[in-house]
Symmetry: C2
Subunit: 593 residues, 2 copies
């Protein structure tokens, strides 16, 4: 079973990822250490005691679909009600809708634990949180008055409707259409697929945010508008009225997250679903990006949450399971497999990856909070850029690690990992989607290379590399015995990253975009591993005073990561600098013919 | 759908993996190129037309269990019958039982195609083939007379019963027991788990090979005997008699290979299952190893087969699916995603890994055949050692690649990869078990380091490295334009492998076994990637004459592998040489408390 790692989470927030800086801003001055601890403790309790036990039930039951209705797993509805009543849905929502306006960092930490409890459960509220932010920022006062409070409290849930069969990664191809009506509303027509929690029985109403095109809209993504389409209309007194013309046409049979209904939604089959515009016409994508950036971080946190749970389960199994005799063990008995060197390596690989995923997600949340708290335009711009750089790293690295860690968890279980009984396989099946949705990890790396590297003419990333280099220097200069050799490895990794970064920037400056794109995926990996390695070591340096008891363990983890995972970046650099020519020469279409 | 890559298989057999050497031996002199081509073509046809269409059906249907009986998927029984009647079961079985005594290389190539068709189907006959070899080598004439012919023809199938709940990787802990009877037979008691095709409705009889202990047996693996336990007794006239005291108590609900029943088998609940000794008392493990080494190669071939199928499917999807605009593409239309650089990289990563898996499996089969064909003790010993070194590489690398390639296949499909409809997810779920059974890949690396490196006092592996170095030199010296830079990379990789090999040997010589074990998994990977990279390039060098049409493509693949995958070995070397101290200092048990 899952035990919330509250101490490690609190340490990571405060000592590694900058919660303390945040607490010294005017906006978040009231976020005391006591408050943080109280929130983390209670979230951890809820995740471990209430959510985690239902994870397997949900996997087995799924979300059966019949006659347009979706039945969620047994206990799911009650769980959601208890969770919403705990106030968790509005943790970092604004006060306008009744939210607590706490840092995204805290919500991210809580989200980690919800996802460790059950990714299929946590993903539902995540979408509501994104919708809340889009409505807070872009919707009219009238829409806010009608919807915001109920979405912040969690009384209603929300969805995000982008994908259509021909429009996945490329929203240019979007075809759903919207027609203006005289009363200022719109009629919406079209089919959306892969809509998470598009239909369910957990709340009385469901609020769909839907991308569609107006008849006179420009082609491409500059002609997309965002609409709010409720499942049930809302009367003036707030009660629910007639049903809108939107229905669920089916749910997908997926590899994992069986507790989360993935719906095909049909709008306007009976004359048009009534929708209300959010923001301006043809500016829907900008509004949607508000949700999407948050959602990308939130998906990274899914990878993190599943990784933590898979690690805990594998550790427990490795200590209980006895096979063979580990080197140095005496006597007639078999050793716990946790004592075998190869299993130790595997457990460390799982733990280090999990902690690096945590660091990347919390660091990204920190940047978002710092942008919110910034009191000058320059500060706001700086932190927005930092969040922009960290978002693809948090999303792609954490979800790749979620897959890698849960797969290693299966491996540690041996044959027992492959039978569904133990739950190890479920973690792996669940985690796999996180590398795909909210922009595949390939899209994340393209985003990093084409959109994030050029921020401030390249100076933002260069500055960040300088910050990383300074921490690496600090590690190298420290006398911490457990970190012997780590500083040098980190310095080399930062230097290597600087080299590939310069190469990427030069390729773009010289119009060799395809060269840059050929190396985008390994470049993102190199970047993420380097940031992770540096910040892991920073954690070891900061393990003093109150946190000293974990110092040796943190140093060991940082060292192991530097020796066994950060070492990947040596080959990655060689790959990026060499491989683009052969990749471009490859013609898959000729191969298939 | 699957298209058998007969041309690539034939090229790999002949030009890369040494089938020609084999054809020049006395034993296999009659294996003409025409015969090879006829066999591969017909096997490819059967795999593509008969087996492949049932793969998804079997995944959906599974193998329901009721009242001790297992129902196989619709069409499974007829498929097996047609397959056995094609003579495929006895391809490399000895002539004594009616087999064709063809090289294991050919059977391995056919097995690749059966596995591409359906891994859940192919695994059943694989176990029968292993049992045939154990019986051929170790069983009494009486047992041979009763069982061999029916097993070679495939009229009956066989199973392999090792695992018990407390005895998985460690067979020392085996508890099933056998009691001698006056008539020379034995009574067998015990429970076995994870028995593949332990019960089913495909053949009239099932022949179980079962490991158990005699009452006076020494402790540990030196006290294990092997027994043949038929489901139905066989009358003197060959007809089936009464049912033996063995029954299936349940089937596992697994992550994948749903068409393959994984059974819990109970022996002796009603007074003892009657068994016949194979080989000598207490020497069962040696007999079982006959099966196990073959089974390890066969499991590697599962990884290969699934990788090939997943690659073909992803390639086809990437050419059909249009999203976004690839660099250089003009006009209003979206590009096939196969033209995007990141997808090209991914497709190459899949294709190169698949071909390396093929090379490792065929090279291992070649060594087994050369040992069979050897006319001197020295030659036989040499090729047995070579097979010993290549078996863990073929098993672990090919199955890791099976998992990696099928996961990349899911990624290329985007959201469609995660829904079960497309079948991409099934390949990933199916492939995952191959990294676990027949000795986890961790066990394979321990086998490589502790048992294979010391062969002939280390000289066998050193000699092999010399052979690899010579090929790398040949690549470096070649003028093939497409291989520019590849020779230097290969030479460096071989030099790095020589360095870690020396380190591993020194660690063992100095009694630092734990040091060696800490690096065993990355060492096996480094070894496999290096062999794969060198032999891929050899393929490009040999692309002349009849095969010249594929020369550019083979050079491109070898170059891409050297630039993007072989580069991993640079970091791996750094890992192995540095990481053992921190890994050994890690105490998982302290972490959990």
């Amino acid at each position: 079973m899952y035990k919330a790692p509250v101490g490690e989470i609190a340490f990571t927030l405060s000592e590694i990822c900058g919660l303390k800086d945040l607490q010294s801003t005017t906006r978040f001055a009231e976020v005391s250490d006591d408050l943080v601890e109280a929130i983390l403790t209670e979230a951890g309790r809820f995740a471990a005691e209430e959510i985690a036990p239902l994870n397997k039930v949900a996997d087995t039951h799924g979300t059966p679909f019949k006659d347009g209705a979706v039945t969620t797993p047994p206990g799911w509805k009650e769980l959601y009600k208890a969770w919403a009543e705990g106030g968790w849905n509005g943790l970092s929502a604004g006060e306008e809708g009744g939210g607590q306006a706490l840092p995204v960092m805290l919500n991210t930490a809580a989200l980690e634990m919800w996802n460790s409890g059950s990714m299929a459960f946590a993903i539902g509220p995540t979408l509501t949180m994104g919708a809340v932010e889009a409505i807070e920022r872009h919707a009219s006062d009238e829409l806010k008055a009608t919807y915001l409070e109920k979405l912040v409290s969690g009384e209603w849930m929300a969805t995000m409707n982008l994908t259509e069969p021909q429009a996945g990664s490329d929203l240019n191809a979007l075809r759903s259409r919207a027609e203006r009506q005289d009363d200022g509303t719109y009629r919406i027509f079209g089919q959306k697929i892969f809509i998470t929690y598009g239909e369910h029985d957990m709340t009385d109403n469901i609020v769909h945010l839907v991308l569609a095109r107006l008849p006179d809209a420009p082609a491409g993504t500059r002609g997309i508008s965002l609409f709010l389409v409720p499942k049930f209309f809302v009367n003036e007194d707030g009660s629910l009225g007639a049903r809108n013309d939107v229905r669920c046409a089916g749910v997908e049979h997926k590899m994992g997250i069986h507790g989360s209904p993935t719906c095909t939604m049909v709008y306007g089959d009976e004359g048009g679903a009534i929708g209300w515009l959010i923001g301006e016409e043809n500016r829907g994508l900008a509004c949607m990006f508000t949700m999407m950036n948050n959602a990308r971080l939130a998906v990274g946190v899914q990878g993190l949450g599943v990784a933590e749970r898979a690690f805990q389960q594998a550790l427990s199994y490795a200590i209980d399971r006895k096979q063979g005799r580990a080197p140095g063990d005496k006597g007639p008995d078999m050793s716990p497999i946790a004592r075998h060197p190869d299993i130790k390596r595997t457990l460390l690989a799982m733990k280090a990856r999990t902690q690096v995923a945590r660091i990347l997600c919390y660091a990204c949340a920190h940047a978002i909070d710092m942008a919110h708290a910034a009191e000058s335009d320059a500060d706001k711009a700086f932190w927005n850029e930092r969040a922009g750089v960290l978002t693809p790293l948090a999303k792609a690295i954490s979800t790749d690690f979620g897959s890698e860690v849960s797969s290693l968890g299966v491996q540690i279980h041996g044959g027992m990992g492959y039978v569904e009984e133990t739950g190890a396989a479920q973690h792996m099946r669940d985690a796999r989607i996180a590398c795909i949705y909210e922009g595949t990890n390939g899209i994340q790396s393209i985003d990093l290379v084409l959109r994030k590297l050029p921020l401030s003419g390249g100076e933002h990333v260069t500055g960040y590399l300088g910050e990383l280099g300074a921490i690496a220097d600090e590690v190298a200069a420290s006398n911490l015995e457990g970190l012997a050799g780590v500083g040098a490895r980190l310095k080399q990794a930062v230097a290597d990253l600087s080299e590939t970064t310069a190469w990427m920037m030069a390729a773009q400056a010289e119009g060799r975009v395809a060269d840059a794109l050929c190396g985008a995926t390994p470049y993102l990996r190199q970047f993420g591993l380097t940031v992770g390695g540096v910040l892991l070591a920073r954690g070891a340096l900061r393990s003093t005073g109150d946190h000293a008891h974990g110092a040796a363990e943190r140093a060991l983890l940082a060292r192991n990561f530097a020796e066994t995972i950060l070492t990947e970046t040596i080959g990655i650099k060689a790959d990026i600098l060499a491989s683009s020519s052969a990749i471009q020469a490859f013609d898959p279409e000729a191969l298939a013919s």
